[in-house]
Point group: C2
Chain length 328, copies 2
């Protein structure tokens, strides 16, 4: 029988967490059954997402999170004793796990060569993949483009900027101390902005004179508003997190900005002339639908060229149903 420790979510988060929100408990670990293994934590992860995610759990739950653990006992052929696994076991020292149950399966770490095991929680784990997929698949950066990363000195942001450099982009990182900014420059960021001391908008204009093509957003809020104001046409924004409001007292289980991430929503502005090469296709299809009786139209007609302002104002105040036109 192993004596294990675990951290309990003792009091609901409100504002910045304090020691009161957590309680350390001991537990005895049960014997493993068929297809289970027992693993002991070696490294545990603390990540920003835990702050808003825990709001979904009742007080008294074990704190959620990933860890790298060593398999001590095993009755599962794919998780042999001595292997190291990455699993979402929560804040606990010992875990009995049936890896075939649950949605996020633990996995045996691949061979990291000379790199430390802890990277399985960082660059070679969830944050690394968040940067790799979340930046490349959503921003689809092109050589020569300008990329802005907020929360740039964090686990994800610092990787996004470097991946953008690998892809041939100009990279601007926004972080909260001069030391972080210096570090970002040392790992290849072209420009950095200390959001706590700089005029972000002015600095960004200087650092990105041609505007911003891709924005990888970890923070939301005011910084995001400023960056969005300097985006170029057909800019792409990958919304990874909204850490700027994670610790607000008002943060609730449902929060519109955070929902945007959690629901993986996609939003796109457009002008119809984007499709000008296919313009006649649209007209022909709509005509066909009209002729087949599948598409109805309504016109609100104002007679007389002299009355054009009236027709315009009427349309702006909702006076029309369907298309507003002026008949000369």
């Amino acid at each position: 029988m192993v004596l294990a420790k675990k951290w309990i979510y003792a009091k609901a988060f409100s504002g910045l967490p304090t020691a009161e929100n957590f309680r350390l408990e001991e537990e005895t670990v049960a014997a493993i059954k068929d297809n289970e293994f027992l693993a002991e934590a070696v490294f545990l992860s603390v990540d920003p997402y835990m702050r808003p995610y825990m709001l979904q759990y009742p007080v008294g739950s074990v704190m959620i999170g990933g860890q790298i653990a060593k398999v001590l006992e095993s009755k599962h052929p794919k998780y042999p004793v001595g292997s190291f696994v990455c699993g979402n076991f929560g804040w606990r020292t010992h875990t009995v796990c049936n890896p075939d149950e649950g949605e996020l399966k633990p996995y045996v770490l691949p061979d990291f060569g000379k790199e430390p095991l802890s990277l399985g929680l960082g660059v070679l784990g969830m944050p690394g993949n968040t940067a790799y997929f979340g930046f490349l698949e959503i921003c689809k950066p092109v050589v020569g483009e300008t990329v802005v990363v907020s929360g740039a000195a964090g686990a994800v942001g610092s990787l996004v900027g470097q991946i953008a450099k690998i892809k041939g982009c100009q990279v601007i990182g926004i972080a909260g101390t001069d030391e972080k900014c210096e570090w970002l420059k040392s790992i290849g960021f072209d420009h950095t902005i200390n959001y706590k001391t700089a005029d972000i908008g002015e600095e960004l204009k200087k650092a990105a004179p041609k505007g911003v093509d891709c924005y990888f957003d970890n923070v939301g809020g005011k910084i995001t508003e400023i960056v969005c104001g300097q985006m170029n046409v057909f800019g792409r924004i990958s919304v990874c997190g909204t850490i700027s409001n994670y610790n607000s007292e008002a943060a609730k289980v449902t929060d519109p900005q955070r929902d945007y991430v959690w629901k993986q929503l996609k939003q796109e502005g457009f002008l119809v002339y984007r499709w000008k090469a296919r313009y006649m296709e649209g007209i022909e299809q709509n005509l066909k639908w009209i002729q087949e009786g599948k598409l109805k139209y309504h016109e609100t007609v104002t007679e007389g060229f002299e009355n054009m302002p009236d027709g315009f104002i009427g349309m702006l105040t909702g006076g029309n149903t369907g298309k507003a036109v002026i008949k000369v």
Copy 2:
């Protein structure tokens, strides 16, 4: 010599336009040169976009806009006398045009069969194509999904809802009068909400009990906030317009919400587990980049399982650079 009329943007828009913003003028029309034609307006368009777009033009400009015009004289082989063209000629009765100049070429209307020419400004023109491409290409609706359209009784919205029905979706339209709502039902909308009299959020919950998959947004503002709160995972939002703030007194040449449309920005929230089938690809690529010296990492390590809350709180307050981990 033809005596023509045109409407001048006489005073800058601020708030809802009034008669004072416009001035009717006469002008004599010059003789046409090679590759030009002279056309006389038959139908002219009034559209919501004109309100914000005009802010970019100096007072004294001719009002912008599309029209259907009949070619009266022509020295261009592709625009013969008697043909009807659709062109962005502005609010004027007569236009001399070299169609090979300028970005948005006028085009001779295709054969509309028995349908009226005015449709070239509506369902068989810019609004029709806005609905066709802007909904299908951005929302990519799937049979059985729930689609919400704001500004649903307008030229674009009324078509979007019907195209959504053609594609096998459940369609909810939001409009501003009971008459508009009745009309929308008569052309096939499954549900309608009168935003001026209903509790939009409550009505939407009833009309879309399984949540909203696609939102075609013509209005922005409060309606959009409510709809976004009821989106499903992987929901798509096509942002066509933000008419709710077009007439605000504060509306300036640059407006963040409108810029989103004009710059055709794309924004997407994500969770990394979307790519769980490719998870090892990310880890392997990041490891390769580390081994090639292209990707640097930094860890902020807190020692001791007992100190896990401190490590967590420190990370939330920006105490870490790179990945924050706990070493047991």
